[in-house]
């Protein structure tokens, strides 16, 4: 284990374990409660595998009533709860706590309603991202946000992380594609937000829930927007001598008023790792590779591909191929979509970072990143959502070499600080979790973070839901609520008044 410290388990709760497990077994009968250590192993970490912790007990509810009863019990008895979907979080968002319940939502796996006329689908949170598309594709529809983990990750987890994917440039993130939720508050109260209609009727709590990393409530039902599949989609594979040229090409495409369906870039190390792994026909000698996908009516796609080809040539493209079949298009994407496992083959371990920067800063940030790699003595492969400036530097290291995990984490932290320095952010789509928790002050002032934590207090004043995540310093809600007021005479003589 490395530098990130989790809150100390509460001995008093640990001492009550037998009683808590028995109570939960009454609330969720059958096989819904797992308390044997060997069986709980499967839940001890998410995709940030450097961190592991057995929970107090694992609970797999099947109904909203059970979720409500479990939360009410935990709230009344001051037991912590960590919600979990498929466990693919890269930021440790679903890492258990030793004195808390791990609440797996994966038995909520039903598609409840498909409503093509209103372009909506209602699903349970354990349905996988791809499962939604599978359920509606016979009607010609799909669910647009498509994280690379879409085969495995759950829509509940997508909401918690506001997940993105290559198609988010044109079609928006999870937050732009969710219409409604049913959720259970930590008190066990069930509330519904939104539905097949648009816009919130009060505060936009739906927006607040999206990206809240399991800290505010447990999602039990989701209404998403589904879209008609575009008539055609074609991709261009464009090689450039340097990332600077590729970056300029991206800026010029957007400058020309074109918003492609997807626009992804990879650097030399990532290109070669992907090519070794899937033989997608990537140009191994290119310094940067851009995949641009256009979708829509055929006439439009053909026209825009012509425009993009011209822009690419002006930016010194060293190679350019346009897909001529669905099969070829999928091959172009195969390398990019398998970039993480491909890098996993060339290095025993890797850490995936997730900062976002303004696009224009790309060349400078890449140069600085290379220098940082030399300082830390580690290599880094880069894949990024070029259209929206979301970087995924993959830091290669070997956990069996003493000190390498620490060096990789330090390198990662330096990369994220670099992103913030260029007016970017710590995480674009993977979430803060535990991984970036201690870096939050790089981006936010104490007042910024306190106001965020006060929001948490409105939902969960005892701070039982997913503790130890997102916020570097825990404040009690009573302390956060205190206000220092200075009663005064007529103030601010300088502000104009009428």
């Amino acid at each position: 284990m490395s530098g990130i410290v989790m809150p100390r388990p509460d001995d008093e709760v640990l001492a009550r374990r037998g009683e808590i497990v028995a109570a939960l077994k009454r609330l969720v009968p059958g096989e819904g409660v797992i308390d044997a250590a060997v069986e709980m192993r499967a839940y001890e970490s998410d995709a940030l595998t450097a961190y592991r912790q057995l929970p107090l007990v694992v609970v797999l509810p099947e109904t909203v009533e059970q979720v409500s009863a479990v939360l009410r019990y935990c709230h009344e008895n001051s037991v912590k709860v960590v919600p979990r979907g498929a466990g693919t979080s890269l930021s440790g968002g679903a890492l258990p706590v030793g004195d808390g319940v791990l609440l797996s939502m994966m038995k909520f796996n039903q598609v409840l309603d498909i409503d093509p006329a209103n372009r909506a689908a209602v699903v349970q949170p354990g349905v996988t991202n791809l499962g939604i598309t599978r359920a509606v594709e016979h009607l010609g529809f799909y669910y647009a946000p498509d994280p690379s983990s879409q085969i495995a990750c759950s829509i509940g987890g997508n909401i918690a992380e506001n997940s993105g994917g290559v198609h988010c440039l044109k079609y928006g993130l999870t937050t732009n594609n969710v219409l409604g939720l049913e959720m259970v508050l930590v008190t066990g109260e069930v509330i519904r937000l939104g539905g097949k209609h648009l816009d919130a009727e009060g505060y936009d709590i739906l927006a607040l829930m999206t990206g809240s990393e399991g800290l505010l409530g447990v999602v039990t039902e989701v209404t998403v927007r589904i879209l008609q599949k575009p008539e055609t989609a074609r991709a261009a594979l464009i090689g450039f001598p340097t990332s600077e040229d590729g970056g300029q090409c991206v800026a010029d495409i957007i400058g020309a008023g074109i918003i492609p369906g997807g626009m992804e870039m990879m650097d030399e190390l990532a290109i070669n790792a992907a090519e070794d792994f899937v033989n997608a026909g990537y140009p191994r000698d290119a310094g940067a590779l851009l995949i641009v996908e256009l979708d829509g009516p055929e006439a439009e796609v053909d026209y825009l591909l012509g425009e993009i080809e011209a822009i690419a040539r002006r930016n010194k493209a060293s190679s350019l191929r346009v897909s001529t079949s669905e099969e070829e298009r999928n091959t172009f994407w195969a390398g990019r979509k398998a970039a993480f496992p491909a890098v996993g083959r060339i290095s025993p371990d890797y850490l995936c970072m997730d900062g976002t920067i303004p696009r224009k800063a790309l060349p400078e940030v890449l140069t600085r990143m290379r220098a940082l790699g030399e300082t830390h003595g580690l290599r880094c492969a880069n894949v990024f959502h070029a259209g929206d400036g979301n970087l995924h530097p993959l830091i290669l290291y070997d956990a069996n070499q003493p000190g390498q995990l620490e060096a990789a984490e330090a390198f990662g932290a330096d990369i994220l600080k670099l992103c913030v320095e260029f007016d970017g952010v710590l995480t674009g789509e993977h979430g803060v979790g535990i991984e970036k928790r201690d870096l939050m002050p790089e981006m936010f002032t104490e007042d910024d973070l306190k106001q965020q934590q006060r929001v948490k207090c409105a939902f969960d004043p005892k701070q039982l839901l997913n503790p130890g995540k997102v916020f570097p310093v825990l404040h009690r809600c009573a302390e956060l609520g205190r206000m220092h007021v200075h009663k005064g005479q007529l103030p601010f003589p300088d502000i104009p008044r009428f």
Binding site: N118, I191, A200, Y203, P230, K360, T427, V455, C457
Partner: protein, 403 residues
């Protein structure tokens, strides 16, 4: 109102709110005041006028981002974008005509406070879908920021989006950062004349469910189409409108695709460029009900429920209505003294739920009747706790969203 404070900086906003919180003196938060007639009237001895906090701080067309102080006129933002062939994709409604004042009066802060959207809501979302970052002063008198200037960002809770549509009751926004979009090369409207509401719903549903990428869909019954044709739009009889935007060749292609798809009867015509834009502006801004003295409701339901909702309320009381958002947004004008709040809300519930906002009514009515959709108990209690965490002394726009 006895006193108006006009801060020129975020620090001055903070000073003013700190004083208000200490003295428990409620503030009415205003941009230019263009939306004062919306929502429940605020009773406050002091106004906080943000119009001096104005100016575009950053606009980078190639990065598709703009950032401005909260009191910046929306018209100034739109002009800056226009000069670079860009726009706010969500096409915010201009309430000027409906509320009886000049158009183009609002500020960017007001747009965010009211979560404005336009006819293109179905495809491009509302203001909440385009906000990237915000700096604000909470009711506690503390400056905080959230979000940033990039689209992909999950660093902390999404407060900018949450505060969008909070009508200035949680915090006073001082600076707002938005995503912008290239303007479409051209547009055209596919007009079908003579459909009844049921046929129109079918046509809009089929069009929206096709790959023709329709950016807006509305249906105007004959009496509403007549009002708009008196404003110079080429309409006769009931009109079902489907808006197409994009590159020229693509628009033509999709127009033809719609023609092949929609064998619903009625006669098809095409409105080009400026004629199309002008018509959609009036549909968006509810021009049909401008200058009358009826009570006007804005109702949000599932798109296929719109026509059914209209049929129900028209059977129950005297009113006029049309729908936008492929049926999902109903504009309803009720004549007479009574705005029929209970009947309107019962009809919303009967067609599957949604919400109804009373957008135009005299102030006493907007105090007596719930302007916003009443919420179930647990949700209302949660909203009240959120309010208390931002504004414990209740000094920002008290009562604006409800008593």
């Amino acid at each position: 109102m006895s006193d108006t404070l006009s801060p020129r900086s975020a620090d001055e906003v903070r000073e003013a709110v700190q004083w208000a919180a200490a003295e428990e003196q409620p503030l009415e938060v205003l941009g230019t005041g263009s939306k004062r007639a919306l929502g429940r009237p605020v009773q406050a001895a002091h106004a906080l006028d943000l119009s001096a906090l104005s100016g575009i701080m950053l606009y980078e067309p190639a990065e598709l981002v703009i950032s401005a102080l909260a009191g910046t006129p929306l018209a100034e933002i739109e002009a800056a974008l226009d000069a670079h062939n860009q726009e706010l994709a969500f096409d915010p409604i201009d309430y000027g005509a409906l509320l009886g004042h000049a158009p183009g009066a609002g500020t960017v802060g007001g747009m965010i406070g009211a979560n404005l959207a336009g006819s293109k809501r179905l495809k491009f979302g509302a203001a909440r879908d385009h906000i990237l970052g915000m700096e604000a002063v909470s009711g506690r008198g503390e400056i905080f920021k959230s979000g940033g200037r990039v689209v992909k960002n999950v660093t902390g809770y999404d407060l900018p989006r949450t505060l969008t549509g909070s009508w200035g009751t949680l915090a006073v926004a001082t600076r707002i950062t938005l995503k912008v979009q290239p303007r479409a090369e051209m547009e055209a409207t596919f007009v079908i004349s003579g459909l009844n509401p049921r046929e129109a719903t079918q046509a809009m549903t089929a069009a929206m469910g096709s790959s023709a990428e329709v950016s807006a869909a509305a249906h105007l019954p004959p009496e509403i189409a007549a009002v708009l044709s008196a404003h110079g739009h080429a309409l006769s009889g009931a009109a079902t409108l489907l808006r197409l935007e994009g590159f020229a060749s693509s628009v033509d292609y999709r127009f033809a695709a719609l023609k092949a798809l929609l064998q619903v009867g009625g006669t098809v015509s095409r409105l080009e460029a400026e004629a199309s834009r002008a018509l959609w502006r009036d549909v968006r801004d509810c021009r049909a009900f401008a200058g009358t003295d009826e009570h006007v409701w804005r109702i949000s339901v599932a798109p296929t429920a719109g026509a059914d909702f209209i049929a129900r309320v028209q059977a129950a009381f005297a009113c006029q209505a049309y729908c936008d958002w492929s049926g999902g947004l109903v504009w309803l004008a009720v004549s007479g003294e009574d705005p029929q709040a209970d009947a309107v809300r019962a009809a919303v519930a009967d067609v599957g739920g949604g919400h109804a906002m009373l957008v135009r009514a005299p102030a006493p009515l907007r105090t007596a009747v719930a302007v916003f959709q009443p919420q179930p108990e647990a949700l209302a209690a949660l909203s009240a706790r959120i309010k208390a965490q931002f504004d414990p002394h209740g000094v920002l726009n008290p009562g604006r969203m409800g008593s």
